[in-house]
């Protein structure tokens, strides 16, 4: 194994190393408050390795690991997300008497799995990294060890097991038909030009979609989302809603553009239909929610639907043209990361103080904490997709990709869904601003979570006004697409 290969794998190696260090330190350090600080400092290591790799286009371990701008984009995003979540976890984690080190360690392990998912071109590795992240996530979901949390963990375990099994079955079929597990080789070996001509391959592709559909929380693999989101510790929920989704889309883009690129007309329609169903389902169900975490859970299903538009809009990748669809997916994922993390962090900050996650208990929040109410309103407005928040550009970009791909119906469906979603997001704002506060007691923002809130909401507003940097990053990351 040449040293160069190790260097190419250094982001993943170092983040796993950091996880071990934190777990070990937990044994000796009495002041557990130091753990998150150490974690954040040490996360500079994988981030540094990742950034140092920017610009390289290489493969390692016989093509299993790929280092390209696409994978680095996702690694930077994932490390950023986990850093923010660690900062935001501090107050929640302080409620566990034991295993704080494991909590942070598991977050990092899950991230390592997701990073690897974004950086491979090989089905077995995709499966293994998926399992690494899922198993860590299950433990995190159940971390409170109370009824709710355990119930969520168990559900997550069983359902992810089901979807993994289906996906593995699908991979086996693809392997059987093509004789290879490498995405590049699959594209060469695929025997037919249309999926309908080869039922085995079709079955394999649909089963693989099931596995990732579970990760990105898209219809019909979304049933677990509300229960698990509600029961899990809120920082973990925030992490799952953003990081899992991002890595899931990274793999979807890779697998479908690279291995099944020839069948794009088949799966383009599939993703288009899934997109419409996911966003409609998520948005309609969200209208009836009384719990803010459940509301955000259904909202995340709807957003999976919006992002799927980018996958469906594959035809916008005309020869010599720009890959609007993949660009839009990357842009949207980042915008969504800032926005949704921001929303969850504000919810954490409020819920930690008032001890409730019911929307009605947020009544009069504008009086009790004008800052938090204002920032939550900003995030919700961004989730609707209204300027000057970053969510506006993200939606615009994806809808435009659909139009460019001659899928105007998809853009219209997205626009109608955006209008529907405004209803429940605005209802939260209405409760915060117009309902009378039950008490005059102020809700104060404490430093650690305040920092996390500041990081994310600044991004929402900054990239809302100046989306160029982010967009440029996304365009570069997809420049070699499908690489």
């Amino acid at each position: 194994m040449p040293l160069r290969d190790l260097y190419l794998l250094s982001p993943e190696i170092s983040i796993v190393g950091v996880a071990f260090i934190i777990i070990m330190l937990d044994l000796w350090i009495e002041r557990k408050g130091l753990l998150p600080i150490l974690t954040i400092v040490l996360l500079g290591l994988p981030l540094g390795f990742t950034i140092s790799l920017w610009g390289t286009e290489e493969q390692a371990f016989d093509g299993v690991l790929v280092v390209d701008t696409f994978s680095i984009f996702f690694k930077v995003l994932l490390i950023g997300v986990v850093t923010a979540v660690v900062i935001a976890s501090q107050e929640t984690a302080a409620r566990f008497r034991r295993f704080q080190g494991e909590y942070y360690g598991l977050l990092l392990m899950a991230t390592a799995g997701l990073m690897l998912m974004a950086a491979t071109r090989e089905l077995i590795t995709i499966y293994l990294s998926l399992e690494l992240s899922t198993l860590s996530a299950i433990a995190l979901v159940a971390f409170f060890k109370d009824t709710r949390s355990t119930e969520s963990g168990l559900k997550y375990l069983v359902l992810s097991g089901v979807s993994s099994a289906i996906m593995l079955y699908g991979m086996a079929m693809v392997l059987g038909v093509t004789g290879t597990s490498s995405l590049v080789e699959i594209a060469k070996a695929a025997p037919v030009s249309s999926l309908a001509d080869n039922p085995a391959l079709l079955l394999g592709v649909v089963f693989i979609v099931a596995g990732f559909g579970f990760k990105i929380a898209s219809f019909p693999f979304q049933m677990w989302v509300p229960d698990v989101y509600q029961g899990a510790p809120t920082p973990v929920t925030a992490y799952l809603s953003v990081a899992s989704k991002a890595a899931g889309f990274a793999v979807l883009l890779r697998v479908f553009y690279l291995a099944f690129g020839d069948f794009s007309s088949d799966w383009s329609m599939l993703f288009g239909v899934l997109a419409v169903i996911s966003m409609s389902l998520g948005n309609f169900a969200a209208i009836f929610q009384t719990d803010i975490k459940r509301l955000l859970a259904y909202s995340t299903i709807a957003h999976a639907g919006y992002i799927l538009i980018g996958l469906a809009a594959v035809a916008s990748r005309v020869p010599g043209g720009e890959a609007f669809g993949p660009q839009g997916v990357l842009f949207y994922l980042t915008a969504y990361a800032f926005t949704n993390l921001g929303a969850f962090f504000v919810v954490i900050a409020i819920a930690n103080k008032i001890g409730s996650e019911t929307i009605d208990d947020f009544a009069g929040m504008s009086k009790r904490s004008p800052l938090l109410a204002g920032l939550l309103a900003l995030c919700l407005v961004s989730l609707i997709g209204v300027p000057p928040a970053v969510g506006f550009w993200a939606k615009l970009y994806l809808f435009n990709a659909a139009v460019q791909a001659d899928m105007v119906w998809l853009a219209i469906a997205g626009a109608i869904n955006t209008a529907i979603s405004a209803f429940y997001y605005l209802r939260v704002i209405k409760v915060m601003y117009l309902s009378p506060a039950p008490t005059e007691e102020r809700v104060r923002l404490t430093p650690p979570i305040g920092l996390a809130v500041a990081m994310t909401t600044t991004g929402v507003l900054f990239f809302g006004i100046a989306p160029w940097f982010l967009l440029d990053f996304a365009i570069r990351a997809t420049s070699g697409f499908p690489g």
Partner: protein
Amino acid sequence: MPEFASWLIFLLPLLSFVLIVGLRPFVGAEWRGAGVITIVSILAAFALALTALAATIGNDAHDLGYRPHDWLTIGPLVIRVGLVMDSLTAVMVVVVTGVSLLVQIYSTEYMRGDKGYVRYFAYMSLFTASMLGLVMASNLVFLYMFWELVGLSSYLLIGFWGQGKAAEEHPRAGDAAKKAFIVTRLGDVGFLAAIVWAYVATGTLEIAEIHAMVAAGAFAGVGVTWLALGIFAGAVGKSGQFPLHVWLPDAMEGPTPVSALIHAATMVAAGVFLVARLFPIFEASEGAMTTVAWIGGGTAIFAASMALVSNDIKRVLAYSTISQLGYMMLALGMGAVGPAIFHLVVHAFFKALLFMGAGSVHHTAHTYDMRFMGGLRRPMPWTFATMLVAGVALIGVFPLSGFWSKDSVLHAASINGLIGGAEALYWIAVLAAGLTGFYVFRMLFMTFAGEYRGGAEAEATAESGAAAGPPPRRRLHESPWIMVAPLAVLAVPVLFAGLADLPWDLFGFGAFAMTGFLTGHVETFSTSVAAVSSAAGALGIVVAYSMYVQGLLSPSVLGQRLRPLHTLLVNRYYLDHLYEGVVVRHVLIRVLGLTAEVIEGQFIERAVNGVALIGRNVGRIPVAMQNGQVQAYGAMISIGIVLILAGFWIWG
């Protein structure tokens, strides 16, 4: 002038807004610094606006020609952001910043001690920034965005006293704000539809590009008429034109400086500005021009007639504003952009002065009801003198500014035979000028002449129905200098702004300098038109004098004689009754309310309860495995996969 300096005109008040909002948590609700920040930023913006005007005058094309910047490029879709600085915008930014500056100075005294002092200046800064953004926007999306922001700040300021303790003194403020917001929104629906239509039809939202397409004839016919009418719908709402004028008199529930700045001088003129900015679109459609002219002319006389009988000084001024905005629309409909904007500018000065004068009167009399004023000439010499000057200018008496602007409007009406019924419109406008003379001097006589009739105390006695004893004497006084100074400063342009557009080259400006600057072609002047309108105005003044000073004709007796007409006017043509009583209460509330109730009660309520019920039940069962949910979820996944496969089977 570098482009950045022009941006600052808009950014400075915005910065002031951000700064005040940011500092709010650290200062008290009555922190005086908020006023200082606002005044300093608007003063700087005013200085830059003057520079921009000078640069525009010095420029041959009267346009500094800034190019819009690409904000975001998504393949063929390019979103641009930019500002224009042409003659129209330059004049508007000077008026907006200038009047705003004086109003803010006046407000520091008028709002002193108010619990919402800091909030007030935050809103005022936001309004000023939005209004400047509106007049400087180079494309329809940004124009619309600022258009709505202006509406939002107007809503916030009308309802400024609609919350908490202040609401007890101003019970109608909340409703007035809502009315303003909803009524103007009706017009905005048309405007928004027009923007969408413009993009569909032309593929661009840059105003200059749309103009070029219309000028080249690439976009013509009925499509242009619809576009123009949609835009005009927005203008009708914002500028209080018939039939959407009902919100403006009610908007006087807000603080008086707000009325002066927003509901007299600037925002309500935004509709006129909008038509002027998009004038090539209107010009391309005779139908649209006729509509604009008739709505404008009709509103001019319609609103003036209601001003004849109102006893509330601010409402008289509000009707007068609607009427004058009608004049501007009339001029636009006749194709006279220059006179319309000239009248807009001059009107901004004298109407802001009149409103601030009314606020000054209120400062001493504590009422806006003119039946309880009177005799204020001696205690308030400055207020009286400045309001007299402004009132005379409003009537259009030679040689004040209003004379020149109103006559340029009337002259345009008299010569233009392009549209149907131009002749009739001219005479309507002349009649409205006569009514103006009457209501202005009725207001001045009732306020300043005769004996003092007791102010707020007398009003309270009259309302309670107690025996009208002699009112307790209170020392009547002139307002503090900081309120009077802006009045005096505004009196200067009211007196002399006409010099900017004289028919002769007297001061080296050139004849018709201002209208020429605005439109590029020179107007003409007609002595006969000026004589006719002056005679009409004078007649109005004489009638008012004979009724309210000489007592030759008693207003109450006249009211008795013309009872049907008087009742009609006092009840504002029953339009408010029609809108509120019939349309809102019966149609909207009955139908919509019932629908909403059914949906809310039958559907949402049950669903929410149902969900909550399920949630509770889930909570009761400790282990989820037992209730079969996970199996259900697993089954759902399987069904989903089968459905996808079936989909491929059928359509694949």
